[in-house]
């Protein structure tokens, strides 16, 4: 683009400042986890790794992390099944209400988490509790899966749209049954789309707090809920700082995996 020199420089400076503003708070979290000062005064006068060993020993944070991982895996598994079923139905068939299905899939993520949260909360309490299933990890998984379906659905429909059906038709002409076609042709074609969907679904579930707050039973604490509960407690500040720093560092992992996935499909 033929931009004037001045415009180029201005845009570059603004972009640089913008990126700096995006990353500085994250950097601050990392530095603060090493701040030796008990009250975390700024600027830090001395750095220490002491809080990191403290945090490693924090049973609360570790239990919350484990709960988050289990909730994320459960929600991802459910979302993978439900999302790909819905994607197949919408892509392969023409039927009345097809648009409505796509809309119903998107709705849980479009509406505010607090609305989804209280709707599920009152439904669980009126329907599941009389059946003997109280609020607990199971209800968290159900709640998370509801808004994770959309990312699997989107990834799978996008892939189905791009792959032609001729491989599957060839397999069927050669006498393969519906199940054989799925196992040998469709699934391998979808594999990386399913992996990308699963990655996003897990990340969404791992970060969710509003829906978790309303669907978790007493004693079930995911990591975000734990952070939120301990954020305002001065004696927990060192551990919260370290957990926050760990989460910032961990956000590189999905980026790396996503890059691997996209280079696989090219």
């Amino acid at each position: 683009m033929k931009l004037s020199r001045r415009a180029r420089i201005t845009v570059r400076i603004i972009a640089f400042l913008g990126l700096a503003a995006i990353y500085l708070p994250l950097l601050l979290v990392l530095v603060n986890s090493l701040n030796a000062d008990r009250s975390f005064g700024w600027p830090p006068r001395q750095l220490t790794l002491h809080w990191w060993t403290d945090a490693w020993a924090s049973t609360g944070a570790r239990a919350a992390l484990w709960t988050s991982v289990r909730a994320g895996l459960g929600a991802t598994a459910l979302a993978l099944v439900l999302g790909s079923l819905a994607a197949f139905a919408v892509h392969r068939h023409r039927f009345f209400g097809r648009e409505a299905v796509s809309f119903a899939v998107v709705l849980p993520i479009a509406l505010p988490g607090i609305v989804t949260g209280i709707a599920l909360n009152s439904a669980f309490r009126t329907v599941l509790q009389p059946a003997g299933i109280g609020l607990g990890l199971f209800t968290v998984v159900v709640g998370h899966a509801t808004f994770c379906i959309v990312v699997v659905f989107n990834n799978v429909t996008a892939r189905l749209r791009r792959t032609s059906g001729s491989y599957e038709e060839a397999a069927m002409d050669l006498g393969a049954t519906t199940f054989q076609v799925y196992r040998d042709i469709t699934f391998p074609l979808l594999r990386s789309a399913l992996a990308a969907g699963a990655l996003l679904a897990f990340a969404l579930s791992f970060d969710e707090i509003a829906v978790t707050t309303f669907t978790a039973g007493a004693g079930v604490q995911t990591l975000p809920v734990w952070i939120f509960a301990n954020m305002a407690r001065p004696n927990q500040a060192p551990v919260v700082n370290v957990v926050a720093a760990v989460l910032v560092l961990l956000s590189v992992v999905p980026i790396y995996l996503a890059q691997r996935l996209s280079s696989d499909t090219k």
Partner: protein, 290 residues
């Protein structure tokens, strides 16, 4: 083998009956979404027309429009609802203004070889936890915190916790959701349009105003769906950096245990606003570029 031939018969039966296949495919996801999710949403909004027992806080299923009347007549709810819409609009405008030059850089000005790396740099913060980012700002804005320290020599100080902090934090949280669609939109902008504009004698600013902006407007609208609806439903950022200020999400949160019907009635405000906004944006055709 019998199991194999049974599988074969089942596969054949399914192949001959596409409606049965469709039914089996849709059964589980539709039961989940329609019965479990939409069902509970419907009951929630139905309960907005119910009331509670003033002594036990139990929900009483008698039909009344009192909750909505309270919502419209009590000044506190009106003020908070308007304030929430204002905050969501402010966040959207700030993000659009900040995102445009950044996306211009990543999509048009930066060297093509560097662009994929820049996109990764924009995507990475999205994977960092919401709470961690809000927590970072709680530290930054604290009295005597990093912002006070940085602005001190200039004679300025941090805005502290309050509504300004909420707008700032929400704008920070949702900024990548605005940059990425605009970046994608600018990338698809045909280069010869810009050349043509320059050939016809337009200066940079004129080209931006008459060619670039109209072309990226759908992308801005797509990004604004995220910034607007995510801001409107938020109640956590307010609890973390909002001080004593309240948004509609906090009122819903505060009423859930004691007065669920009122909380449900309050919940209709962001839902209706978001649906109206989605419809308006859909008419502009922006959702197709998502």
């Amino acid at each position: 083998m019998t199991t194999d031939s049974a599988g074969r018969r089942l596969a054949g039966a399914l192949h001959r009956r596409p409606r049965l296949r469709l039914g089996l495919l849709l059964a589980a996801p539709l039961t989940w979404l329609l019965v479990a999710y939409l069902g509970s949403l419907a009951v929630l909004f139905l309960s907005a027309f119910w009331t509670t027992d003033p002594f036990t806080s139990d929900v009483v299923r008698s039909w009344t429009t009192d909750n909505f009347r309270t919502l419209l007549s009590a000044p506190v709810y009106r003020t908070v609802a308007l304030r929430s819409l204002g905050v969501a609009a402010a966040v959207t405008v700030i993000d659009a203004v900040v995102a445009l030059p950044i996306a211009c850089y990543t999509a048009l000005v930066a060297k093509p070889s560097r662009r994929p790396l820049l996109v990764v740099a924009l995507l990475t913060p999205l994977w960092a936890s919401y709470l961690v980012k809000a927590y970072a700002w709680r530290i930054i804005l604290a009295n005597g915190g990093p912002l006070d320290w940085a602005l001190g020599p200039l004679g300025l100080h941090s805005p502290g916790y309050g509504l300004t902090a909420v707008i700032l934090v929400l704008a920070y949280l949702w900024l990548p959701y605005m940059i990425l669609p605009i970046h994608a939109g600018l990338e698809q902008l045909p280069a010869n349009l810009l050349d043509a504009s320059a050939d016809l004698g337009a200066r940079t600013w004129r080209t931006v105003r008459s060619v670039v902006l109209p072309m990226v407007l759908p992308s801005v609208a797509a990004g604004s769906v995220f910034t607007f609806s995510l801001s409107l439903g938020d109640y956590l950022a307010v609890q973390i950096v909002g001080g004593r200020s309240q948004l509609i999400g906090n009122l819903i949160y505060a009423n859930v245990t004691l007065n669920l019907p009122l909380a449900a009635a309050l919940g209709t405000v962001p839902v209706v606003a978001i649906l109206l906004y989605l419809l308006a944006v859909r008419r502009s055709g922006a959702l197709r570029s998502l």
